[in-house]
C-alpha cells in the first residue's frame, strides 16, 4: 500500500498555511485516499487499479491546494495554533495557578510531611493534596478546549499538561540562582531554606511542582480522551 501521507505531503507541500494546519490537511486528505483505496481493494480491484481509482479523485493537485488555501483563509487574525494550543494552554495554566490561593482562602491548606534524611536531619515537605486532586479536571478542561478548536492529539495533550511544562521551565531558570538567593538570606531564614536546598531539593521541587501536577493533569487528559473515544465509538460511523 502506498504511503498516502507522504504522497499528499509532496503534492500539497506548497500550501501557505500554518505548519500544524498544513499537517492536519495532509493527514485528513491522506486518510481519505487510504480509505478510498481500501474500499476499492475490498471491491476486488488489483492494487494498481485501486491506487489509480483513489488518485482519480484529484485531477489537479495545484488547483486543489489553491482551493484549500482559499477556503481555510481565516477572517480573524488568530492562527489555528493559537486556538488549538496556546489559548487552551494559557487557560489551563491560569486556572491551575489561581486555584492554589483560592483553595487556601477556603481553608484547604497544604499538608505537611516530614521525612528523615542523612544525619537524622528532618525535611519538611508541603503537599497541596487538594490542589493536586483538582488538577485532573484542569487537564481535562485544557484537553476539551484544544479539541473543541480542532486540536490534534499532540495539541490536546500539551494543552492539558501545559502547567507542569511551564512550572518545569520556570524551575530550570530558577534553580541555578537558588544558591545566590540562600546567600542573601539572614541566618535564621537560611537554616530553613537550607532544608529546602538540601540534596533532596531538586528532586523534591521537581516532584512537587512538575511530576506530581503533570501526572494529575495527564490523568485528566487521558480520562477525557478515553471518555471521548467511548462516546465517538457509539456516535461516529465509519467504514
Amino acid at each position: 500500500m502506498p504511503n498516502w501521507q507522504e504522497f499528499v505531503g509532496q503534492r500539497l507541500s506548497g500550501l501557505a498555511l500554518d505548519v500544524a494546519e498544513k499537517e492536519e490537511v495532509h493527514a485528513e486528505l491522506s486518510a481519505h485516499l487510504e480509505e478510498s483505496y481500501e474500499s476499492l481493494r475490498a471491491e476486488g480491484l488489483a492494487e494498481q487499479a485501486a491506487i489509480n481509482g483513489a488518485l482519480s479523485q484529484v485531477a489537479d493537485w495545484d488547483k486543489l491546494g489553491r482551493q484549500i488555501q482559499s477556503a481555510r483563509r481565516r477572517e480573524n487574525t488568530m492562527t489555528p495554533r493559537v486556538n488549538r494550543l496556546w489559548l487552551p494552554s494559557l487557560v489551563t495554566l491560569l486556572v491551575s495557578i489561581f486555584l492554589l490561593p483560592l483553595l487556601e482562602s477556603l481553608g484547604l491548606n497544604p499538608q505537611f510531611f516530614f521525612l528523615v534524611g542523612h544525619h537524622d536531619r528532618t525535611y519538611g515537605l508541603s503537599v497541596y493534596t487538594v490542589w493536586l486532586a483538582t488538577l485532573p479536571f484542569v487537564g481535562a478542561l485544557g484537553a476539551y478546549l484544544s479539541r473543541r478548536a480542532g486540536g490534534t492529539r499532540r495539541a490536546i495533550i500539551i494543552s492539558g499538561t501545559f502547567p507542569a511544562l511551564a512550572f518545569f521551565a520556570v524551575l530550570l531558570s530558577v534553580i541555578p540562582y537558588m544558591g545566590l538567593l540562600e546567600h542573601r538570606l539572614d541566618a535564621g531564614a537560611r537554616s530553613v531554606f537550607h532544608t529546602w536546598t538540601s540534596e533532596f531539593r531538586h528532586l523534591g521541587v521537581v516532584a512537587g511542582w512538575v511530576l506530581l501536577p503533570g501526572a494529575c493533569l495527564l490523568i485528566g487528559v487521558l480520562a477525557y480522551i478515553q471518555t471521548l473515544r467511548r462516546l465517538t465509538q457509539r456516535g461516529v460511523s465509519s467504514v
Binding site: 485528513e28 482519480s56 486543489l64 482551493q67 477556503a71 481565516r74 492529539r153 456516535g235 465509519s238
Partner: protein
C-alpha cells in the same frame, strides 16, 4: 445525472442534511451522500474538502480529531448551532425551487 452547476448549489445542503444524523469524517460523509442519493451526488476528494473547510470557516460545521469506530484517528465533522439554523431555510429554499421548476415543466407539457 444532475449537472455540475446544480450539484455545486446543493452540495452544502447535502452535507448539512447528512450531518444532521450525527458526526462523520470526510470519506464516510461522501459515501453516505452517494448512497442516500443513489449516486446522483458524488463527492470526490477534490470537491469535498475545499467545501468542508469553507463551511467550517462559516461556522456551519466543526471538525475535530476523533477516534472512529474502527479505531482510526479521523477528523470528524458535526453540525454547529449556526449550521442547524442554516439547514431549515436552505431546505425550504431548495424545496421551493424544485416546486417552481416542476410547475414550470408541467406548464410546458400542458
Amino acid at each position: 445525472m444532475i449537472g455540475s452547476g446544480i450539484k455545486r448549489g446543493t452540495a452544502e445542503l447535502a452535507v448539512l442534511s447528512v450531518l444532521q444524523d450525527g458526526p462523520l469524517h470526510g470519506y464516510e460523509l461522501a459515501r453516505r451522500i452517494e448512497q442516500q442519493t443513489d449516486g446522483a451526488l458524488r463527492f470526490t476528494l477534490a470537491a469535498l474538502y475545499p467545501m468542508l473547510y469553507r463551511m467550517e470557516q462559516q461556522r456551519w460545521i466543526r471538525g475535530s480529531w476523533e477516534t472512529s469506530a474502527n479505531g482510526r484517528w479521523r477528523r470528524c465533522y458535526r453540525l454547529t448551532p449556526i449550521g442547524k439554523k442554516k439547514l431549515l431555510p436552505l431546505q425550504r429554499e431548495w424545496a421551493e425551487l424544485f416546486r417552481a421548476l416542476q410547475q414550470l415543466t408541467k406548464a410546458a407539457h400542458a
